[in-house]
Amino acid sequence: MTGPHPRPGPHGAVDPPGTSRRAVEDSLARLLGQGVCVSSTLVALGLIASLLTSGGASLAPAHLSAGPVPHPGGLAGAISRALAGPDHGLIVVGILVLILTPIARVVAAAVLFGREGDRLYTGLTLAVLAVLVAGILGSR
Protein backbone atom coordinates (compact mmCIF):
# COMPACT_ATOMS: atom_id res chain seq x y z
CA MET A 1 0.00 0.00 0.00
CA THR A 2 1.76 3.14 -1.19
CA GLY A 3 -1.19 5.52 -1.48
CA PRO A 4 -1.38 8.69 0.61
CA HIS A 5 -4.61 7.59 2.29
CA PRO A 6 -4.14 4.25 4.06
CA ARG A 7 -7.30 2.21 3.96
CA PRO A 8 -7.93 -1.41 4.70
CA GLY A 9 -8.66 -3.47 1.62
CA PRO A 10 -7.56 -6.49 -0.39
CA HIS A 11 -3.97 -5.21 -0.51
CA GLY A 12 -3.91 -3.71 2.98
CA ALA A 13 -2.55 -5.26 6.15
CA VAL A 14 -5.02 -3.55 8.50
CA ASP A 15 -7.89 -6.03 8.23
CA PRO A 16 -8.36 -9.49 6.80
CA PRO A 17 -8.70 -9.11 2.99
CA GLY A 18 -11.72 -7.09 1.94
CA THR A 19 -13.42 -7.05 5.34
CA SER A 20 -14.26 -3.34 5.53
CA ARG A 21 -15.07 -3.16 1.82
CA ARG A 22 -17.57 -5.98 2.30
CA ALA A 23 -19.08 -4.24 5.30
CA VAL A 24 -19.64 -1.10 3.18
CA GLU A 25 -21.20 -3.14 0.35
CA ASP A 26 -23.49 -5.04 2.73
CA SER A 27 -24.63 -1.83 4.44
CA LEU A 28 -25.42 -0.17 1.10
CA ALA A 29 -27.25 -3.29 -0.13
CA ARG A 30 -29.37 -3.31 3.03
CA LEU A 31 -30.25 0.38 2.66
CA LEU A 32 -31.24 0.01 -1.02
CA GLY A 33 -33.32 -3.07 -0.20
CA GLN A 34 -35.21 -1.15 2.47
CA GLY A 35 -35.87 1.73 0.06
CA VAL A 36 -37.28 -0.70 -2.51
CA CYS A 37 -39.54 -2.33 0.10
CA VAL A 38 -41.02 0.92 1.42
CA SER A 39 -41.40 2.48 -2.04
CA SER A 40 -43.00 -0.51 -3.74
CA THR A 41 -45.43 -1.02 -0.85
CA LEU A 42 -46.58 2.63 -1.00
CA VAL A 43 -46.87 2.62 -4.81
CA ALA A 44 -48.80 -0.67 -4.84
CA LEU A 45 -51.22 0.50 -2.13
CA GLY A 46 -51.67 3.85 -3.87
CA LEU A 47 -52.33 2.16 -7.20
CA ILE A 48 -54.99 -0.09 -5.70
CA ALA A 49 -56.61 2.85 -3.88
CA SER A 50 -56.59 4.88 -7.11
CA LEU A 51 -58.27 2.13 -9.12
CA LEU A 52 -60.92 1.55 -6.46
CA THR A 53 -61.89 5.23 -6.25
CA SER A 54 -61.44 6.72 -9.73
CA GLY A 55 -61.08 3.60 -11.89
CA GLY A 56 -57.87 4.98 -13.42
CA ALA A 57 -59.59 7.88 -15.21
CA SER A 58 -56.35 9.82 -15.75
CA LEU A 59 -54.95 6.89 -17.78
CA ALA A 60 -57.33 7.72 -20.64
CA PRO A 61 -55.42 7.74 -23.98
CA ALA A 62 -56.37 11.35 -24.70
CA HIS A 63 -54.88 12.44 -21.38
CA LEU A 64 -51.65 10.45 -21.78
CA SER A 65 -50.99 11.60 -25.34
CA ALA A 66 -51.63 15.29 -24.55
CA GLY A 67 -48.63 15.54 -22.22
CA PRO A 68 -48.02 17.68 -19.14
CA VAL A 69 -49.31 21.23 -18.91
CA PRO A 70 -46.70 23.74 -17.68
CA HIS A 71 -47.42 25.04 -14.17
CA PRO A 72 -45.69 27.69 -12.08
CA GLY A 73 -44.32 26.81 -8.66
CA GLY A 74 -41.47 24.46 -9.58
CA LEU A 75 -40.77 21.30 -7.64
CA ALA A 76 -42.67 22.18 -4.46
CA GLY A 77 -45.70 23.17 -6.55
CA ALA A 78 -45.54 20.00 -8.63
CA ILE A 79 -45.33 17.79 -5.53
CA SER A 80 -48.12 19.56 -3.66
CA ARG A 81 -50.36 19.44 -6.78
CA ALA A 82 -49.64 15.72 -7.20
CA LEU A 83 -50.31 15.04 -3.52
CA ALA A 84 -53.56 17.01 -3.66
CA GLY A 85 -54.59 15.32 -6.92
CA PRO A 86 -57.30 12.67 -7.01
CA ASP A 87 -56.10 9.69 -4.92
CA HIS A 88 -52.49 9.84 -6.10
CA GLY A 89 -50.93 10.87 -2.75
CA LEU A 90 -49.59 7.44 -1.77
CA ILE A 91 -48.13 6.82 -5.24
CA VAL A 92 -46.36 10.19 -5.19
CA VAL A 93 -44.89 9.52 -1.73
CA GLY A 94 -43.74 6.07 -2.94
CA ILE A 95 -42.09 7.61 -6.01
CA LEU A 96 -40.41 10.25 -3.80
CA VAL A 97 -39.04 7.49 -1.52
CA LEU A 98 -37.68 5.69 -4.61
CA ILE A 99 -35.99 8.87 -5.93
CA LEU A 100 -34.55 9.58 -2.46
CA THR A 101 -33.13 6.07 -2.06
CA PRO A 102 -30.03 6.51 -4.31
CA ILE A 103 -29.43 9.90 -2.67
CA ALA A 104 -29.65 8.28 0.78
CA ARG A 105 -27.19 5.69 -0.53
CA VAL A 106 -24.71 8.48 -1.39
CA VAL A 107 -25.06 9.96 2.13
CA ALA A 108 -24.62 6.50 3.67
CA ALA A 109 -21.50 5.84 1.54
CA ALA A 110 -19.97 9.15 2.69
CA VAL A 111 -20.59 8.21 6.33
CA LEU A 112 -19.22 4.67 5.84
CA PHE A 113 -16.06 5.85 4.05
CA GLY A 114 -15.62 8.55 6.69
CA ARG A 115 -15.86 5.98 9.46
CA GLU A 116 -13.23 3.91 7.63
CA GLY A 117 -10.89 6.91 7.63
CA ASP A 118 -10.86 6.93 3.81
CA ARG A 119 -10.61 10.68 3.19
CA LEU A 120 -10.31 10.42 -0.61
CA TYR A 121 -13.56 8.48 -1.08
CA THR A 122 -15.35 10.46 1.61
CA GLY A 123 -14.47 13.59 -0.38
CA LEU A 124 -15.54 12.09 -3.73
CA THR A 125 -18.83 10.90 -2.25
CA LEU A 126 -19.49 14.35 -0.75
CA ALA A 127 -18.76 15.89 -4.19
CA VAL A 128 -21.48 13.67 -5.72
CA LEU A 129 -23.84 14.75 -2.95
CA ALA A 130 -23.06 18.43 -3.60
CA VAL A 131 -23.96 18.08 -7.30
CA LEU A 132 -27.19 16.26 -6.39
CA VAL A 133 -28.18 19.03 -3.98
CA ALA A 134 -27.34 21.66 -6.62
CA GLY A 135 -29.60 19.81 -9.07
CA ILE A 136 -32.50 19.70 -6.64
CA LEU A 137 -32.13 23.39 -5.74
CA GLY A 138 -31.84 24.27 -9.44
CA SER A 139 -35.17 22.60 -10.19
CA ARG A 140 -37.09 25.01 -7.94
Partner: protein, 296 residues
Protein backbone atom coordinates in the same frame (compact mmCIF):
# COMPACT_ATOMS: atom_id res chain seq x y z
CA UNK B 1 -41.66 25.09 -25.46
CA UNK B 2 -45.09 23.88 -26.63
CA UNK B 3 -45.06 20.40 -28.18
CA UNK B 4 -47.45 19.78 -31.07
CA UNK B 5 -50.73 18.44 -29.61
CA UNK B 6 -51.08 15.67 -32.20
CA UNK B 7 -47.55 14.38 -31.64
CA UNK B 8 -48.45 11.09 -29.99
CA UNK B 9 -52.13 10.99 -30.95
CA UNK B 10 -51.11 10.00 -34.47
CA UNK B 11 -49.49 6.78 -33.33
CA UNK B 12 -52.04 5.55 -30.81
CA UNK B 13 -52.00 1.78 -30.96
CA UNK B 14 -54.34 -1.01 -29.91
CA UNK B 15 -52.61 -1.18 -26.50
CA UNK B 16 -53.61 2.35 -25.53
CA UNK B 17 -57.24 1.59 -26.34
CA UNK B 18 -57.38 -0.94 -23.49
CA UNK B 19 -59.49 -0.26 -20.39
CA UNK B 20 -57.51 1.05 -17.40
CA UNK B 21 -57.12 -2.41 -15.81
CA UNK B 22 -55.84 -3.99 -19.02
CA UNK B 23 -53.52 -1.05 -19.65
CA UNK B 24 -52.06 -1.34 -16.13
CA UNK B 25 -51.48 -5.08 -16.59
CA UNK B 26 -49.81 -4.49 -19.96
CA UNK B 27 -47.59 -1.80 -18.41
CA UNK B 28 -46.65 -4.10 -15.48
CA UNK B 29 -45.66 -6.99 -17.75
CA UNK B 30 -43.84 -4.83 -20.30
CA UNK B 31 -41.88 -2.90 -17.66
CA UNK B 32 -40.83 -6.08 -15.83
CA UNK B 33 -39.31 -7.30 -19.11
CA UNK B 34 -37.50 -3.97 -19.70
CA UNK B 35 -36.38 -3.89 -16.04
CA UNK B 36 -34.94 -7.40 -16.34
CA UNK B 37 -33.09 -6.63 -19.58
CA UNK B 38 -31.99 -3.22 -18.26
CA UNK B 39 -30.44 -4.66 -15.10
CA UNK B 40 -28.72 -7.48 -17.03
CA UNK B 41 -26.91 -5.15 -19.39
CA UNK B 42 -26.55 -2.06 -17.18
CA UNK B 43 -28.63 0.12 -19.48
CA UNK B 44 -31.29 0.95 -16.91
CA UNK B 45 -34.08 0.09 -19.33
CA UNK B 46 -34.60 3.71 -20.41
CA UNK B 47 -33.58 2.74 -23.93
CA UNK B 48 -36.52 0.36 -24.00
CA UNK B 49 -39.13 2.05 -21.81
CA UNK B 50 -39.30 5.36 -23.74
CA UNK B 51 -40.10 3.77 -27.15
CA UNK B 52 -42.37 1.28 -25.40
CA UNK B 53 -44.45 4.07 -23.88
CA UNK B 54 -44.44 6.40 -26.90
CA UNK B 55 -44.72 3.87 -29.73
CA UNK B 56 -46.58 1.09 -27.92
CA UNK B 57 -48.91 3.02 -25.63
CA UNK B 58 -49.18 6.40 -27.36
CA UNK B 59 -47.83 8.28 -24.35
CA UNK B 60 -46.51 11.84 -24.82
CA UNK B 61 -42.70 11.94 -24.96
CA UNK B 62 -42.47 14.14 -21.86
CA UNK B 63 -44.53 11.74 -19.72
CA UNK B 64 -42.46 8.89 -21.18
CA UNK B 65 -39.23 10.67 -20.19
CA UNK B 66 -40.43 11.31 -16.63
CA UNK B 67 -41.61 7.72 -16.20
CA UNK B 68 -38.39 6.45 -17.74
CA UNK B 69 -36.23 8.38 -15.27
CA UNK B 70 -38.16 6.94 -12.33
CA UNK B 71 -37.92 3.43 -13.84
CA UNK B 72 -34.14 3.86 -14.24
CA UNK B 73 -33.93 4.50 -10.49
CA UNK B 74 -36.09 1.41 -9.96
CA UNK B 75 -33.82 -0.73 -12.17
CA UNK B 76 -30.68 0.56 -10.44
CA UNK B 77 -32.03 0.16 -6.91
CA UNK B 78 -33.80 -3.15 -7.54
CA UNK B 79 -30.71 -4.73 -9.10
CA UNK B 80 -28.04 -3.23 -6.80
CA UNK B 81 -29.15 -5.10 -3.70
CA UNK B 82 -28.19 -8.51 -5.07
CA UNK B 83 -25.20 -7.45 -7.21
CA UNK B 84 -23.67 -5.72 -4.14
CA UNK B 85 -24.14 -8.81 -1.99
CA UNK B 86 -22.63 -10.97 -4.75
CA UNK B 87 -19.61 -8.55 -4.96
CA UNK B 88 -20.15 -7.92 -8.69
CA UNK B 89 -20.65 -4.15 -8.17
CA UNK B 90 -17.46 -2.13 -7.53
CA UNK B 91 -18.51 0.68 -5.17
CA UNK B 92 -15.25 2.68 -5.45
CA UNK B 93 -15.28 2.71 -9.26
CA UNK B 94 -18.98 3.59 -9.16
CA UNK B 95 -18.52 6.56 -6.82
CA UNK B 96 -15.49 7.94 -8.69
CA UNK B 97 -17.35 7.86 -12.01
CA UNK B 98 -20.53 9.25 -10.41
CA UNK B 99 -18.76 12.57 -9.82
CA UNK B 100 -18.53 12.94 -13.63
CA UNK B 101 -21.96 11.49 -14.52
CA UNK B 102 -23.95 13.61 -12.05
CA UNK B 103 -22.28 16.81 -13.29
CA UNK B 104 -23.05 15.79 -16.88
CA UNK B 105 -26.67 14.98 -16.03
CA UNK B 106 -27.27 18.51 -14.72
CA UNK B 107 -25.86 19.96 -17.93
CA UNK B 108 -27.95 17.61 -20.06
CA UNK B 109 -31.26 18.47 -18.41
CA UNK B 110 -30.57 22.17 -18.99
CA UNK B 111 -30.05 21.42 -22.70
CA UNK B 112 -33.08 19.09 -23.07
CA UNK B 113 -35.64 21.90 -22.83
CA UNK B 114 -34.08 23.55 -25.87
CA UNK B 115 -34.77 20.64 -28.21
CA UNK B 116 -37.99 19.50 -29.90
CA UNK B 117 -39.24 15.94 -29.19
CA UNK B 118 -38.50 14.90 -32.80
CA UNK B 119 -34.88 16.01 -32.42
CA UNK B 120 -34.63 14.08 -29.16
CA UNK B 121 -35.91 10.95 -30.90
CA UNK B 122 -33.40 11.31 -33.72
CA UNK B 123 -30.45 11.93 -31.38
CA UNK B 124 -31.57 9.06 -29.14
CA UNK B 125 -31.80 6.64 -32.10
CA UNK B 126 -28.42 7.60 -33.52
CA UNK B 127 -26.78 7.36 -30.09
CA UNK B 128 -28.15 3.85 -29.71
CA UNK B 129 -27.07 2.82 -33.19
CA UNK B 130 -23.52 4.07 -32.60
CA UNK B 131 -23.33 2.09 -29.36
CA UNK B 132 -24.05 -1.14 -31.26
CA UNK B 133 -20.74 -1.21 -33.12
CA UNK B 134 -18.40 -1.76 -30.14
CA UNK B 135 -21.06 -3.95 -28.48
CA UNK B 136 -21.06 -6.30 -31.48
CA UNK B 137 -17.25 -6.30 -31.59
CA UNK B 138 -17.04 -7.83 -28.11
CA UNK B 139 -19.64 -10.60 -28.63
CA UNK B 140 -17.28 -13.58 -28.24
CA UNK B 141 -15.29 -12.33 -25.24
CA UNK B 142 -15.92 -13.76 -21.76
CA UNK B 143 -13.24 -11.82 -19.82
CA UNK B 144 -10.95 -8.98 -21.01
CA UNK B 145 -7.25 -9.95 -21.46
CA UNK B 146 -4.93 -8.50 -18.76
CA UNK B 147 -3.46 -5.09 -19.67
CA UNK B 148 -0.65 -2.88 -18.31
CA UNK B 149 -1.30 -1.55 -14.76
CA UNK B 150 -2.62 2.03 -14.47
CA UNK B 151 -0.80 3.97 -11.68
CA UNK B 152 -3.82 6.25 -11.22
CA UNK B 153 -6.13 3.24 -10.74
CA UNK B 154 -3.71 1.76 -8.20
CA UNK B 155 -3.57 5.05 -6.33
CA UNK B 156 -7.38 5.24 -6.26
CA UNK B 157 -7.75 1.62 -5.15
CA UNK B 158 -9.77 0.67 -8.24
CA UNK B 159 -9.27 -3.06 -8.08
CA UNK B 160 -11.52 -5.86 -6.99
CA UNK B 161 -12.50 -9.47 -7.14
CA UNK B 162 -15.79 -11.26 -7.62
CA UNK B 163 -16.77 -14.90 -7.65
CA UNK B 164 -17.99 -15.94 -11.09
CA UNK B 165 -20.60 -18.65 -10.68
CA UNK B 166 -20.37 -19.71 -14.30
CA UNK B 167 -16.55 -19.98 -14.40
CA UNK B 168 -16.55 -21.44 -10.89
CA UNK B 169 -13.63 -19.27 -9.70
CA UNK B 170 -12.72 -15.87 -8.29
CA UNK B 171 -12.06 -13.25 -10.98
CA UNK B 172 -9.58 -10.53 -9.85
CA UNK B 173 -9.39 -7.34 -11.91
CA UNK B 174 -8.02 -3.78 -11.98
CA UNK B 175 -9.27 -0.67 -13.79
CA UNK B 176 -7.24 0.83 -16.66
CA UNK B 177 -7.06 4.24 -18.39
CA UNK B 178 -9.01 6.04 -15.65
CA UNK B 179 -7.91 9.45 -17.02
CA UNK B 180 -9.74 8.75 -20.27
CA UNK B 181 -12.78 7.18 -18.61
CA UNK B 182 -13.65 10.27 -16.57
CA UNK B 183 -14.37 12.68 -19.51
CA UNK B 184 -16.28 9.86 -21.23
CA UNK B 185 -18.44 9.53 -18.12
CA UNK B 186 -19.12 13.28 -18.15
CA UNK B 187 -20.45 12.92 -21.72
CA UNK B 188 -22.51 9.88 -20.73
CA UNK B 189 -24.09 11.91 -17.92
CA UNK B 190 -24.94 14.76 -20.32
CA UNK B 191 -26.67 12.35 -22.71
CA UNK B 192 -28.63 10.82 -19.84
CA UNK B 193 -29.90 14.23 -18.75
CA UNK B 194 -30.77 15.34 -22.29
CA UNK B 195 -32.68 12.23 -23.28
CA UNK B 196 -34.13 11.03 -19.99
CA UNK B 197 -32.31 7.72 -20.34
CA UNK B 198 -29.67 6.10 -18.16
CA UNK B 199 -27.18 6.29 -21.06
CA UNK B 200 -25.95 3.07 -19.48
CA UNK B 201 -24.77 1.86 -22.90
CA UNK B 202 -22.06 4.54 -22.87
CA UNK B 203 -21.11 3.82 -19.26
CA UNK B 204 -20.91 0.08 -19.82
CA UNK B 205 -18.92 0.56 -23.02
CA UNK B 206 -16.50 2.97 -21.34
CA UNK B 207 -15.90 0.53 -18.48
CA UNK B 208 -15.70 -2.41 -20.88
CA UNK B 209 -13.58 -0.96 -23.71
CA UNK B 210 -11.58 1.76 -21.91
CA UNK B 211 -11.27 0.59 -18.29
CA UNK B 212 -11.23 -3.08 -19.34
CA UNK B 213 -13.28 -4.41 -16.44
CA UNK B 214 -15.06 -7.78 -16.65
CA UNK B 215 -18.46 -7.22 -18.33
CA UNK B 216 -20.49 -8.26 -15.31
CA UNK B 217 -18.59 -5.75 -13.16
CA UNK B 218 -19.21 -3.08 -15.83
CA UNK B 219 -22.96 -3.71 -16.12
CA UNK B 220 -23.51 -4.04 -12.37
CA UNK B 221 -21.44 -0.92 -11.60
CA UNK B 222 -23.22 1.00 -14.38
CA UNK B 223 -26.53 -0.05 -12.85
CA UNK B 224 -25.33 1.10 -9.42
CA UNK B 225 -24.39 4.53 -10.86
CA UNK B 226 -27.34 5.30 -13.11
CA UNK B 227 -29.73 5.46 -10.16
CA UNK B 228 -27.86 8.46 -8.79
CA UNK B 229 -27.58 10.16 -12.20
CA UNK B 230 -31.31 9.67 -12.75
CA UNK B 231 -32.13 10.89 -9.23
CA UNK B 232 -30.33 14.15 -10.05
CA UNK B 233 -32.54 14.65 -13.14
CA UNK B 234 -35.78 13.24 -11.74
CA UNK B 235 -36.43 16.26 -9.51
CA UNK B 236 -36.33 18.57 -12.49
CA UNK B 237 -38.74 16.37 -14.46
CA UNK B 238 -40.96 16.14 -11.40
CA UNK B 239 -41.03 19.94 -11.19
CA UNK B 240 -42.04 20.18 -14.86
CA UNK B 241 -44.95 17.79 -14.27
CA UNK B 242 -43.41 15.03 -16.44
CA UNK B 243 -44.03 12.30 -13.82
CA UNK B 244 -47.63 11.07 -14.22
CA UNK B 245 -48.38 9.14 -10.96
CA UNK B 246 -50.85 6.60 -12.35
CA UNK B 247 -48.68 5.88 -15.40
CA UNK B 248 -45.47 5.66 -13.34
CA UNK B 249 -46.91 3.39 -10.60
CA UNK B 250 -47.26 0.14 -12.62
CA UNK B 251 -43.98 0.84 -14.43
CA UNK B 252 -42.15 1.21 -11.07
CA UNK B 253 -43.61 -2.05 -9.72
CA UNK B 254 -42.90 -4.02 -12.89
CA UNK B 255 -39.40 -2.60 -13.22
CA UNK B 256 -38.44 -3.38 -9.61
CA UNK B 257 -39.54 -7.00 -9.99
CA UNK B 258 -37.83 -7.39 -13.37
CA UNK B 259 -34.60 -5.76 -12.16
CA UNK B 260 -34.36 -8.08 -9.14
CA UNK B 261 -34.76 -11.07 -11.45
CA UNK B 262 -32.22 -9.71 -13.96
CA UNK B 263 -29.63 -9.11 -11.23
CA UNK B 264 -29.92 -12.72 -10.08
CA UNK B 265 -29.59 -13.94 -13.66
CA UNK B 266 -26.49 -11.76 -14.18
CA UNK B 267 -24.39 -13.90 -11.84
CA UNK B 268 -25.43 -17.08 -13.65
CA UNK B 269 -25.30 -16.16 -17.35
CA UNK B 270 -22.26 -16.00 -19.64
CA UNK B 271 -21.34 -12.50 -20.80
CA UNK B 272 -21.71 -13.47 -24.45
CA UNK B 273 -25.18 -14.88 -23.82
CA UNK B 274 -26.29 -11.57 -22.32
CA UNK B 275 -24.89 -9.55 -25.25
CA UNK B 276 -26.44 -11.91 -27.80
CA UNK B 277 -29.90 -11.48 -26.27
CA UNK B 278 -29.72 -7.71 -26.01
CA UNK B 279 -28.05 -6.72 -29.30
CA UNK B 280 -31.04 -7.28 -31.66
CA UNK B 281 -33.43 -5.66 -29.17
CA UNK B 282 -31.42 -2.44 -29.08
CA UNK B 283 -31.03 -2.47 -32.87
CA UNK B 284 -34.81 -2.68 -33.33
CA UNK B 285 -35.45 0.12 -30.83
CA UNK B 286 -32.81 2.42 -32.37
CA UNK B 287 -34.31 1.97 -35.84
CA UNK B 288 -37.79 2.85 -34.52
CA UNK B 289 -36.55 5.95 -32.77
CA UNK B 290 -34.59 7.26 -35.76
CA UNK B 291 -37.65 6.76 -38.00
CA UNK B 292 -39.79 8.65 -35.49
CA UNK B 293 -37.26 11.45 -35.35
CA UNK B 294 -37.29 11.79 -39.12
CA UNK B 295 -41.10 11.59 -39.48
CA UNK B 296 -42.55 13.34 -36.40
Amino acid sequence: MAPPPDLAAGVLTAASGLPAGGLLLALLVASSVTGCIGSLVGLGGGVLIIPLLTLGFGVHIHYAMGTSLVSIIATSTGAATSTLTERITNVRIGILLEVATTLGALLGVALAGLLAPATLHLVFGLVLMASLVPLAGRLGEELPPPGPPDPLATRLGLEGQYHDRLLGRAVPYQAHRVGLALPLMLSAGTISGMLGIGAGAFKVLAMDLVMRLPLKVSTATSNFMIGVTAAASAWIYLARGYVHPLLTAPVVLGTLAGAALGARLLGRLANRTVRTIVLPVILLVSLQMVRRGLNP
